[in-house]
Amino acid sequence: MPYKENVAIVLCLHRLRNIRMNMAEAIGKVQRWHILEPDDKTLITGGKVYIAPADYHLLVEREGYFSLSVDEPVNFSRPSIDVLLESIVQARWARAGAALLSGANCDGALGMLKMHQAGYFTAVQLPTDAEIPTMPEAALALFKPTCQFSANELVQVCLRALSLYT
């Protein structure tokens, strides 16, 4: 993904709890993108890739910063993709889009539906292309996203989302 100084990317991955692998530090910087695990109340700024910390839900606030929560897992997941996406809808951000990829449970489907209903750009990986199709299938059972894609088209999908807002 080419560097964009006015774009923030948020990644919500299901990972094992209690392994305090600091993924962000492991990755550091890629093509000028600064990759980090946000702390609670970190301001969301462009040119960054934020990775949801293990064992916390990651939410965004209207004022443009993150909040963390240890609320119980949703769909057996903490961080939960639904929680993140619902918070974006609640915050009524003017410009946002979401892409849902391979995964082993239905987390994310409901959040994607809400993004879709609120008029945001939504993209879902083709189940046939996904390593584990459960997650994209659950989303596609609920609504028809803006587009479907295979993993090697992810960058184009992101650029397409951005083009809607510029």
């Binding site: 910390p53 929560s69 619902e86 915050a91 809400k114």
Partner: protein
């Protein structure tokens, strides 16, 4: 198997809720970070089959007996014994060097929830030989969490995790020294609580009581907006003795807080600070 969407809550309904809490119960939720507060409220609506926030507001207005249970449900009580083991190892390493010579150590555990972290501190102090010189105050706004904390009794399913965490912090201490199975529950030794006083206290609205050598406030600040975090932390630092320890959650930070200038990091990664002498 999809989970039903949570009901939407409008700004107006939320405003009304704040007013009811403030005027009827003297509780101030205005400075809680909106994203998770709304989520929590939505969960409560769903659990009780209430169609919208208006009905919940009505219930809070007319049925005060519902209030304590409500508080228990909108607060997030998730906790565990030695959550983030490396943070507790870091604390353990500071305790003896800093406090071995103190005749008395006063500890305030803010937002202690169901008490697992109080037990964590108690076990550390016991193993460091400091317990009998300490007085621990453990506070929370959730009465039912405090009741459970006083019983030191937990579902047996937590045993594996708690045992693993204890081993990571104190490798030579057998779990069975402090906890055992009783009637299908995991029960901690009551003697761990002999120096602990549990009190219902709202750290946002109430004033502090006394001075402390150690204040722990983990995973409570995340529920507050930056400006309320600032106020609460300022208040806590004021209640801390010079040279005292302040410990927050490992993903919490003090960068919004002016008063944090009075602190020096003892371990920045584990978020353990010391008040400047």
């Amino acid at each position: 198997m999809l989970f039903e969407a949570l009901p939407e809550i409008s700004e107006k309904e939320l405003e009304h809720f704040f007013q009811i809490m403030l005027t009827k119960y003297g509780e101030d939720f205005r400075g809680y970070a909106p994203a998770s507060l709304k989520r929590r409220l939505g969960t409560v609506l769903k659990r009780y089959g209430l169609p919208n926030m208006q009905t919940l507001n009505q219930r809070l207005l007319t049925q005060p007996e519902y209030y304590e249970r409500f508080i228990s449900e909108i607060t997030v009580s998730t906790t565990e014994l030695f959550r983030d083991p490396s943070a507790w190892v870091a604390l353990k390493n500071q305790l003896v060097p800093l406090f071995a010579s103190f005749p008395q150590v006063h500890i305030w555990h803010v937002g202690c929830s169901t008490g697992e972290e109080v037990l964590s501190v108690a076990i550390l102090l016991q193993e460091m030989g400091l317990y009998d010189r300490t007085q621990i105050y453990a506070t929370d706004i959730d009465r039912s969490a405090l009741e459970q904390a006083q019983k030191a009794t937990y579902p047996l399913r937590h045993r594996e995790l708690y045992e693993k965490n204890l081993k990571a912090v104190l490798p030579n201490v057998p779990f069975s020294k402090y906890a055992w199975e009783e009637q299908g529950n995991l029960v901690f030794s009551p003697s761990l609580l002999r120096g602990v006083r549990f009190l219902r206290h709202n750290v946002v609205t109430e004033s502090t009581f006394g001075k402390f050598e150690i204040i722990l406030c983990r995973n409570l600040l995340i529920y507050l907006t930056p400006s309320l975090q600032d106020q609460v932390v300022t208040k806590l630092i004021r209640a801390l003795q010079a040279g005292g320890i302040f410990m927050i959650g490992t993903k919490e930070s003090l960068f919004w807080c002016q008063a944090a200038q009075q602190l020096i990091p003892l371990n920045e990664v584990e978020r353990i600070y010391q008040k400047k002498p």
